[in-house]
């Protein structure tokens, strides 16, 4: 059996509301402003497809997966694989976004699990998530994302 034991948990506190944070993940026109990518799904309902699309002329699809759970504005769970590896079930990992109001802050926990130890995806996301979450925080708090 494929070893998919690796996981990461990322936490950030953002001065915003759970609704705005949920929209920042699921609405392409907001997402593109701090992520450089859009998360696109027809309806974000369990079983629906989602895609991670690079902003730009070619609009290349970089990641694909299915929506596993969606409970706005508290929780979103999706499967996650490179577009080029979409036909191999072993290459799918899982991302959970948990959103929790804490006073005037919102705690966002991103759990990325079912990753293969030593895989390219593990390496990519280890470098990627801190940058994306810092940029998201900056965007939601100041209107300006980081240059990523």
């Amino acid at each position: 059996m494929t070893d998919k034991s690796a996981s990461f948990i990322y936490v950030t506190f953002i001065r915003t509301t759970p609704e705005k944070l949920f929209e920042a993940i699921t609405r392409p026109e907001i997402c593109r402003r701090y992520w450089g990518h859009e998360n696109v799904s027809e309806d974000w309902q369990p079983g629906s497809d989602w895609q991670h699309v690079k902003v730009g002329e070619t609009r290349s699809v970089e990641l694909v997966g299915k929506v596993i759970e969606c409970d706005p504005p508290k929780r979103l769970v999706v499967s996650w694989a490179n577009e080029s590896q979409k036909d191999d079930p072993d290459q799918y990992s899982r991302v959970t976004y948990d959103i929790e109001g804490k006073g005037d802050m919102v705690k966002l926990t991103v759990s990325h699990d079912e990753l293969q130890p030593g895989s390219g995806m593990l390496k990519g996301i280890s470098a990627g998530w801190p940058i994306v979450l810092s940029s998201m925080k900056s965007f939601l708090e100041t209107g300006q994302g980081l240059d990523i």
């Binding site: 990461f8 936490v11 506190f13 998530w129 801190p130």
Partner: protein, 106 residues
Amino acid sequence: MDDDKVFKALADPNRRQLLDRLCDQNGQTLGQLCTSMDMKRQSVTQHLGLLEQANLISTARRGREKLHFINPVPLYEVYARWIRKFEEGRLGLLHDLKQELERNGK
């Protein structure tokens, strides 16, 4: 506000060592972390508490176990604010130096 907690948490060599241990292997239990640290269990617990307050680690329950994960998001924010902008300045200086030397060489 949060920066203070991050820098204070990082100001202790034992806490930095705990982060290194989690960097080597993410998602460890308290027991696992204790075996690689030359410290009492109680001290390790205290250090982990301070790291968690600074949001440098997060914890998750998996069955009966509580696992500790390194959370590099605040470190990236420190990098973006305190390192990246200085690095850009230095790269600018190097660029100017190159321009100057090449101009003189002609």
